[in-house]
Subunit: 212 residues, 2 copies
């Protein structure tokens, strides 16, 4: 019975999620990308914002805040995307939180909307502080696809876009190509494709996790 229903449930969850992201865009959709220095959180934020604004015709604000934690090696990048003008540029309660480190997870999981999505890279996060968090082996997936762990942030972007429909795949591919270091475009597009593929797999197989 569950065998019969699961695909339909997965497909419905997928439709619902995408509807959700689009509906949020009528006001604004807030993304927080959090990890450690060197994990590419800032580049990922810039790419996501440019995909939305330059290629998908939306408005976007992208922010890095550096306080004392920056000296400790933490890194966080925030992106707000909206159809209309963005009057307040700060993320308070995120619609989507990506945690690429344990510290990021513990620091930010409490600042997510009730129906928000928390994605953690379970290669780096062993203690997930919320049952709502969705663990994905992001770094492993990136490494399998490209042999380079540094591409994990790009895989994460594919995962986020695939799960939420926040930006189009085409826009994200263009923004990745624009922004990654010259000569690494192909490998980063592979990392991105692996993220989209994982999102597709999750939407089919684990609809209840996608729903948060």
């Amino acid at each position: 019975m569950s065998g019969e229903n699961a695909p339909e449930t997965g497909a419905r969850a997928a439709r619902d999620d995408r509807r959700e992201a689009r509906r949020e865009l009528e006001s604004r959709y807030e993304v927080r990308l959090a990890g450690e220095g060197g994990q590419g959180m800032i580049l990922a934020g810039v790419i996501l914002a440019e995909a939305a604004a330059v290629y998908d015709g939306l408005n976007a604000v992208q922010t890095q805040s550096y306080g004392p934690e920056a000296r400790g090696g933490a890194s966080r990048s925030e992106v707000i995307i909206a159809k209309g003008e963005i009057d307040y540029p700060e993320v308070t309660q995120a619609d989507l939180l990506l945690c690429m480190s344990q510290e990021a997870c513990e620091k930010y999981y409490g600042q997510v909307k009730e129906d928000g999505l928390i994605i953690v890279d379970s290669c780096n996060v062993s203690r997930v502080p919320s049952h709502r968090a969705m663990p994905v082996r992001i770094t492993d997936i990136a490494e399998r696809a490209t042999s380079r762990r540094i591409t994990a942030s790009i895989t994460a972007l594919g995962l986020i876009a695939g799960l939420t429909g926040l930006v189009t795949r085409q826009a994200l591919e263009k923004a990745v190509s624009d922004r990654v270091p010259a000569g690494t475009e192909a490998v980063n597009l592979q990392a991105l494709a692996a993220g989209f593929a994982e999102a597709e797999r999750l939407r089919e197989e684990l609809p209840e996790m996608v729903r948060g």
Copy 2:
């Protein structure tokens, strides 16, 4: 007579300007870097913020806002630096505006504090809309130092830090080395040094322009 007085005036102007930037930091100092896509405004903003926060022990918020103008190729990056916490992350009236394009100049010169500093790259800006603007041939200086026009944004950072004392030279050198593409560290440090040298020259020779 002016020959006798100029050096002393220049030195005094230099001291005053540095005192000014430090005093502003008690509250906050707002920088807007504006130009076109491909001129490195975002990277420059990230470097300035990281110099301040990671290496000079200050707080910083760094923002890119993308509206319809992003589709037209304009690019702007904003950095707020303060000793204390930064509660409102948006630049309204800048303390310092860098214009690397004519369009940027026309769009933003009106949003600068009365005693703020406007620096324009006179290689790219022919019509300077304010008598307060300080024209510097930034791209030429970068090209002479490194043979690469793309390093102009890094030269601009050296110029800004040299004129205002907003961040230390050591911090900026470290942040540049962290952030520029691997293999281009040396050439970018040359571009940075050229910016500091130009600031020194301006402070000696053109004190009245430095004062805005």
